[in-house]
Amino acid sequence: MKKLSKLLFVIILTVITLIVLKGNTRFRELFYKYVYDTNISFAQINNWYQSKFGSPIPFDEYINDTESVFEETLKYSEASIYKDGVKLTVDYNYLVPALDSGIVIFVGEKEGYGNTVIIEQENGVDVWYSGLSEINLSLYDYIKEGSLIGEANETLYLVFIKDGEVVDYKEYI
């Protein structure tokens, strides 16, 4: 009986949402924006939480393996617009450092970009590192600024996305 009423409640909720979506365009836009296009910003919440209450896992600092952190920032010789982002010309077998701390939310292949890692940074910006020949991370790893993402051969694509919209790369590199 309890389970049946729960099921009916879910059905009623879904039907009401669908009816409102059909009728109200403003609601539809907001719904699509917040439900489909934006992610929960884990990195931002984590940053806030850690500053207030300490790590979610006590003794966190002893758990994560300390990967090599570079001193230098991203080095490239040329930058040109490519699709939504920017195409950078880098050295052969270039070791790509992370621009900022964040959480890895995607590892895989993106059409037109090749091997891609998406990092959700603590400032709320999602950064795509694409065209990688080798990836040194796995999904949902927390990484620090300057940690190794992977290797790139001559070309590296970067895309910056904030709140579901592509933003200009010049502010960030």
Partner: protein, 241 residues
Amino acid sequence: MIIKNIFKIHPLFYIVGFICFITGYFKIFVIFSSIILFHELGHIIAGLICRWRIDKIILLPFGGITIFKESLNKPLKEELFIALLGPLFQVVYFFIIDDVVFRNLNLIILLFNLLPIVPLDGSKLVNVFLNIFLPFKKSHILTIYISMISIIFIFFTIIFKFNILFLLILIFIFIEIIKEYYKHEYYFNKFLLERYLYNFNFKKIKKIKNIKDIYKNKKHIIYFDKKYCTERELLVKMFDK
């Protein structure tokens, strides 16, 4: 249905789960839960081998607690075996899976679990050890005192590095210690009553002057009313009314 009655998840576990979810610590949380389950599996298997009846298994964010519905007069060897098999399973798990994050987390949980604080496995080991040299009543109260002193030391680590979840866990443990302290007399009476109700056979015999000095693994001759009597006679006097 049996599993549902035995297996319980503490609210603290849900809180930690939720916080790990919103901060994106999915991986660590899954690894963490698997380690705890594997640890409990060790206790459960040990319990089944010794034919102890399991009362319930509680899942907590720093480890699990397996509670047995068993007499307090069980042999020390069995108690030691059950307390040890959980950490031992964790060590086995440590060597099976080759991953840095996994191993570090495993090690931290193992070390925490071996602290001599009451609901943790370390306290059970301490209690078994004390029972070899000291009477039941004394070793039980001493285990509680050791727990209290240890937890006060652990509380100091919070001052250096504040962590709200760790604080919650410590408060939970502290409450458990206080509960155990108030159950002290009850446990002693239960211990005596079991000795009266069932016949246990122990090889060693010891002369004592007070009923409070009864050892867990010995038979006794007690000096009472200016003469020596067996433990059995005294217990009959106490409980047969």
